[in-house]
Symmetry: C2
Subunit: 420 residues, 2 copies
């Protein structure tokens, strides 16, 4: 990401100067490793391994933090702010947890904060929510905000391959990191939707309250069944504001194949926002990658440059609502949500098994929309797929706990929520 | 649009105040007709038929112009600016022709100009180009920017109906205006793409240089053939910057059915922007309608409010590049462009006709990719459809002129450009 920013600022230096009025100059670069060739030509005299020297350098107006994670990123950022330096960051993990604290510090010291690159890469989603839709009450945000997970699901869908196989290949091709857990476990998506919800709804979100489930258990068989029902499986990150509560979650979701978001393939990100006045808008673009992310970081640096030139620093609150106007809106417990469910049971093919199963579902007020049972092998477990009508999560979980204790059920039941 | 703005500012007054810090208050409304009930409750004392009183009222900070067209909109806007009032407008026709003049006047008098609502309704395309992609050289802009034309083409595609039938119904349903010529002749789209090109490329565009062709000649038969070839017909507005020239046009275009823009249906607008760093992004949303447009107008009013509070007025140039940094980039003549062409000839079914036709094409270096001729009725003209390889517009036009003069050709040849 750092080398991408070096490239954007040098290749488009002239374009940027013609818009801002003054050149945006890369003053210093701090990195633990300043010897590896990263393919961009940089004056070696601006390189340092001591980040602290940047935070106090009087020649520096804007500090760009591209370290990621909690520490030392957070301490560096806070020190930069206290030294009256404007800060631009792509650090979603940190902002999801400490965004309010950092923004309050920036407000106190009168410096600007840019974080467009933290969500959706090159997609200008922060600006769109904060400024383009400023006159709206935001109703909901639906998004594919992790390109790695979307790439894996897209390939599984087109090739029928296993999760592990595709992940391995994605790692070899550089589409997935060596430690892919944040991407495939949904944590990265949860960071991003937490940031968007705090911005859109003017409330603090306790990150632990974001229900988070990744894609590691999605099987090719479930993708096939989803297709039969007319759905695609996507890792959705969703936040809604209704009836005085926030619904916020990340999980694999069956999305109707006619929904435009179902057609967003590969590493692309897509975010649909519904505003009470604007109606629905969808933004699709490059959610990751060195240059798209650097494009967003540079946009924030440019904005700060423009603000510095005209006195517009602090012209808006980073999370849109002014700090004193933020209100706590409670998060609705996951158990209270309702949707249709796709359930895949692995059952021993014995008489009475299906009736036992459907009895338990009925006892928990779960009504069945359709059942698919294909093929049968004596003494071998067979998959039985059920699509339920709209059911409350609490009931569903209780029922499945009972089902999974039956002797005729050989594996943990696969549960995928359906979004209509 | 006016009543939509009244509703947005009253219904979301509290949301807006919590973001801006001060209330945004509707001070006066000027309209020729102030007696018709428009469904919004308005204090009658703020209504006037004399717009001039708003332009001089010292209590008014921001003037919103929703009159449309050239005059008196232009005079009102300039007078407001000279009286140091910030201006927000949705007037694409005026900005396409006089944008530079109006923006220069605003710059001179130190007031802000907002025009987000002039292109793409609620889609924040102006902000995205000017700020989100500020670090990019914009390569191209592809868009469906007229909802009425897209609605008509969508219905023709799904129902196989004639243009005139669908237009009539669209007018009855309020999707098309009583005088629909700006929408169906492509002029509205041309206004919008001219504004986007001036903003994206930092150049003046002479509006007469935007090649403009509407959808009135698109026939159900051509939509059917397009489907056979795997295309949809869309009214595209396109601007590209390459090799030191601007390509800019509006015309019905065959778009590959797999292209996401082919799937944008009904009154939705969609704009794809390619930046050299950000890659491709697509923004889809409500391009028209009272509330979506008002959402964009109100966003501009809010931005001006925020700027007034912090001194950030004039923090950026309305057309992105600073006035003195704008450069004239010539528009490439339409004759110099090349693409594949869909041609539908109406021929008398006589021996040798096809050979004569293909002879003329060959003489003009036009090579044929495929030919479809279906059904035949003696002494009746039959449609012959040809898809060409990539051909220069100049050659194509010369050839078709000759073809259309043949005695065996009964109607003017239908020409639809293919975008790959």
């Amino acid at each position: 990401m750092g080398s991408g920013l070096v490239r954007v600022l040098s290749e488009n230096q002239e374009q940027i100067r013609r818009k801002v009025g003054i050149p945006v100059r890369l003053a210093r670069i701090a990195d633990l490793d300043i010897t590896t060739d990263r393919g961009e030509s940089v004056d070696p005299s601006i390189l340092t391994t001591d980040a602290k020297t940047l935070l106090t350098d009087p020649e520096i107006d804007v500090v760009v933090e591209l370290i990621g994670g909690d520490e030392p990123a957070k301490s560096f950022m806070l020190e930069a702010i206290r030294n009256k330096k404007h800060v631009v960051t792509a650090n979603k993990a940190l902002l999801a947890k400490s965004g309010e604290e950092i923004f309050a510090e920036a407000h106190k010291h009168g410096v600007g904060i840019g974080y467009e690159a933290s969500v959706g890469g090159a997609i200008p989603i922060i600006r769109s929510l904060r400024e383009g839709m400023a006159a709206n009450k935001i109703v909901s945000i639906y998004g594919i905000v992790n390109g790695t997970a979307n790439y894996i699901l897209s390939r599984m869908t087109h090739e029928g391959s296993q999760f592990e196989t595709v992940l391995k290949e994605a790692q070899d091709q550089g589409y997935a990191e060596a430690d892919p857990s944040f991407d495939i476990e949904g944590i990265d998506s949860a960071h991003k939707i937490a940031i968007l919800a705090m911005l859109a709804f003017g409330t603090q979100i306790d990150f632990d309250q974001v229900y988070t489930e990744g894609i590691t258990k999605v099987a090719p068989l479930d993708i096939l069944y989803a297709k039969e029902f007319g759905y695609r499986i996507k890792l959705l990150a969703v936040a809604k504001n209704s009836d005085g509560q926030i619904e916020i979650w990340v999980h694999p979701t069956m999305v109707n194949e006619d929904n435009p978001i179902a057609k967003v393939e590969g590493t692309l990100n897509a975010i649909e926002v519904i505003g009470d006045m604007a109606g629905e808008s969808m933004l699709i673009g490059r959610g990751a990658g060195s240059l798209p992310t650097a494009s967003a970081v540079a946009a924030d640096v440019i904005e700060i440059g423009r603000n510095m030139m005209t006195g517009g620093i602090n012209r808006l609150s980073p999370f849109s609502y002014l700090p004193k106007e933020r209100k706590t809106i409670p998060v609705r417990p996951m158990d209270d949500l309702s949707c249709r469910y796709y359930l895949r049971f692995q059952l021993l093919d014995k008489p009475g098994v299906l009736s036992q199963l459907s009895g338990i579902l009925g006892d928990h007020s779960i009504s069945i929309e359709s059942v698919i049972q294909k093929g049968r092998q004596e003494n071998e477990p067979v998959p039985v797929v059920i699509m339920t009508h709209v059911t409350q999560e609490r009931n569903l979980k209780e029922a499945i706990q009972k089902v999974d204790r039956l002797e005729t059920v050989t594996d943990e039941t696969v549960i995928i929520r359906v979004d209509d």
